[in-house]
């Protein structure tokens, strides 16, 4: 397998007042295509910052980030937005659905960034909702859905444009155990059946067990825990 995304000697600092806080000092990481990686670590270890760098929603101060053979750390904001739209699916802890839109419309949001005709968009939305088994809830608004259903809508939104990589930030952090297992099972299915590369940040060791391997992040450095 070849690396889908690579971080080479990445540095990242935050400024808090006059104090400069180093998050990463020369972090290196490679995630293979089709991998399902869980990233664990204590609060403040840099998990979310890492996810932001991998998803192009934050910029590194040094080093290079290569996605599918192409450096993305030098992209302009517009280039990054376009790259995220076609390459990355995001799944958040609190679902982050638009309350004014129905489930189907929420799923359709990423397709508004494509040039697909309306009919094709509808088909893709139906397929995505079918994969997460929520076809019957297409016209429901988020407040009419349970937490687990909302997260499944969020997964459908993440996969509807067929991105290569899914980034999940504590995707089960707000769910009960059974629902969490359902969601994790769906992610596992997407990885195994559809070949999606998944990087999941989690505090939950149970959730991490669904991944192919777990990386432990502490003080800006990795230690692989399981394979």
């Amino acid at each position: 397998m070849s690396a889908l995304i690579q971080l080479n000697n990445v540095t990242k600092h935050y400024r808090r007042g006059k104090e400069v806080i180093a998050i990463f000092e020369g972090l290196t990481l490679a995630i293979e295509k089709g991998d399902f990686v869980a990233i664990m670590g204590p609060s403040g270890s840099g998990k979310t910052t890492l996810l932001n760098l991998l998803g192009g929603t934050d910029r590194c101060d040094g080093g290079e980030i290569i996605f599918d053979g192409e450096r993305i750390d030098g992209y302009s904001e517009g280039q990054l937005a376009a790259w995220r739209a076609r390459s990355i699916g995001f799944i958040f802890q609190f679902y982050n659905l638009m309350p004014v839109l129905t489930a189907a419309q929420n799923v359709e949001l990423p397709l508004m960034l494509t040039k697909l005709p309306a009919r094709k968009r509808r088909e893709n939305v139906e397929t995505a909702l079918k994969i997460v088994e929520l076809s019957d809830r297409a016209k429901h608004k988020p407040k009419e859905l349970s937490g687990g259903q909302q997260q499944r809508v969020a997964i459908a939104r993440a996969i509807v444009s067929d991105p290569k990589m899914l980034l999940c930030d504590e995707p089960t952090g707000d769910l009960d155990r059974n629902t969490a297992n359902d969601i994790l099972g769906t992610l596992q299915l997407l990885n195994r059946e559809m070949g999606k590369t998944i990087i999941m940040v989690t505090h939950d060791p149970e959730a991490a067990r669904f991944a192919n391997r777990t990386l432990h992040l502490d003080k800006g450095a990795f230690a692989e825990v399981t394979a």
């Binding site: 932001n52 934050d58 517009g78 937005a81 995220r84 739209a85 995001f90 638009m98 004014v100 949001l109």
Partner: protein
């Protein structure tokens, strides 16, 4: 789903808030539509029938003050003058002083019809009848239609200024003709009757007139003729002020004050208030949605596109309020224009220019009120937005 659907759904996420904002904007545009149309109507009315080579001579103190009738011949003798006539405001009403007032002048029929031949159109027979019948009156078509008057009918026309020697406030007048204007849209809500009839029967104002209308040989001579006339009567008990007909019309119609200034100030005040209310509400509405904006950017919506979506909401809001306000004001104006009391203002309908100005104002309002939330959405970093709770 299109961007417009997203804009619409976001705008109506809190329907009550959106309705209240729309009503505020509606009120501002209602005021704009009514006052601006009134102002335009006044300007238009002052220009209607105004000939470039006609001057109006009135009392220098105020055009409501009289002039001696003897001035007419002296004015006619001024170099450059090719015709003169005179008219006197009668304060006319029919039966009910409160609800049936209209424009009425006592005139010298022959010279008046000569000077205003293009504006007061009669058949030859009507013209002849009016000139020869001492109690004759000619009425505008709109006025005649309003009261169902016919040629040959005798009608009592009252005055809120003059009284007859016998104590009556009304004069019996026989309709000699019903006149039309030069264009179908011209106002025909006035009446004209013999000055001699008034002069012989009224208890006061004998041999006094309201103003003198002068036709010059050419509009190029207007200034010199006006100066010459005013010089003739300088230092007399009745000094004159001579201006072109359009200027006089504007002064007559704007007796209440500088309507342009009043309208501008009222509309500006209304819009300043709306600007504050809408901007503040949109800024606070955007604060509630910072996280959603962050999510959209994360999904790949570019900052310029997010800016367009946010500005789109402000534009849709202002356009909705504006269109409602302009439509309702156009309806109110069309109802008002049918009222006889509004005849002084001429055509009260909303002009396309006023409607277009309103729409441009709506777009400006939308852009200005949406500028702050849109700019903050544009600048917002994804990390900061997603960290908001």
């Amino acid at each position: 789903m299109r961007d417009f659907d997203l804009v619409r759904k976001n705008l109506f996420r809190k329907p009550l808030r959106t309705i209240l904002l729309t009503v505020s904007i509606f009120m501002a545009f209602l005021i704009f539509g009514l006052l601006t149309s009134l102002n335009v109507a006044l300007d238009r009315a002052s220009e209607t029938g105004a000939a470039s080579n006609r001057l109006i001579v009135s009392n220098k103190i105020n055009f409501t003050q009289p002039l001696p009738i003897a001035y007419v011949n002296r004015i006619a003798a001024t170099k450059g003058v090719t015709g003169v006539t005179h008219s006197s405001w009668f304060g006319a009403f029919y039966q009910d002083q409160r609800n049936s007032r209209f424009v009425g002048f006592a005139v010298d029929p022959e010279t008046y019809l000569n000077l205003y031949a293009n504006d007061v159109r009669l058949t030859d027979a009507e013209r002849k009848a009016f000139v020869t019948e001492r109690t004759g009156v000619i009425v505008g078509k709109a006025l005649a239609d309003q009261y169902g008057w016919k040629v040959g009918q005798t009608i009592p026309i009252s005055s809120n200024i003059y009284v007859q020697a016998n104590g009556r406030r009304s004069w019996d007048m026989k309709i000699s003709g019903i006149f039309t204007g030069a264009k179908p849209a011209d106002s025909t809500t006035a009446l004209y009757f013999h000055y001699d009839y008034l002069n012989e029967t009224a208890t006061f104002g004998r041999d006094q007139i309201g103003n003198v209308a002068v036709r010059t040989a050419s509009s190029d001579l207007n200034n010199s003729v006006a100066k010459a006339i005013d010089n003739v009567f300088a230092n007399s008990p009745y000094e004159t002020s001579t201006v072109d007909e359009k200027t006089f019309g504007q002064a007559f119609l704007k007796q209440a004050g500088d309507l342009n200034l009043i309208v501008t100030m009222v509309v500006a005040a209304a819009f300043a208030a709306i600007l504050m209310i809408v901007s503040t509400t949109l800024v606070s509405a955007m604060r509630e949605r910072i996280r959603e904006i962050g999510v959209m950017k994360t999904l790949g919506f570019s900052s310029p596109r997010v800016l367009r979506l946010v500005l789109g909401e402000a534009l849709l809001l202002s356009t909705m309020g504006a269109v409602l306000g302009l439509v309702v004001s156009a309806l109110v104006l069309s109802v008002l224009s049918k009222s006889p009391a509004a005849s002084t203002f001429g055509d009260l309908s909303m002009s396309p220019l006023v409607a277009l100005s309103g729409l441009l104002l709506a777009i400006t309002l939308g852009l200005v009120t949406g500028a702050i939330p849109a700019a903050s959405a544009l600048r917002m970093s994804i990390v900061d937005a997603l960290n908001r709770r």
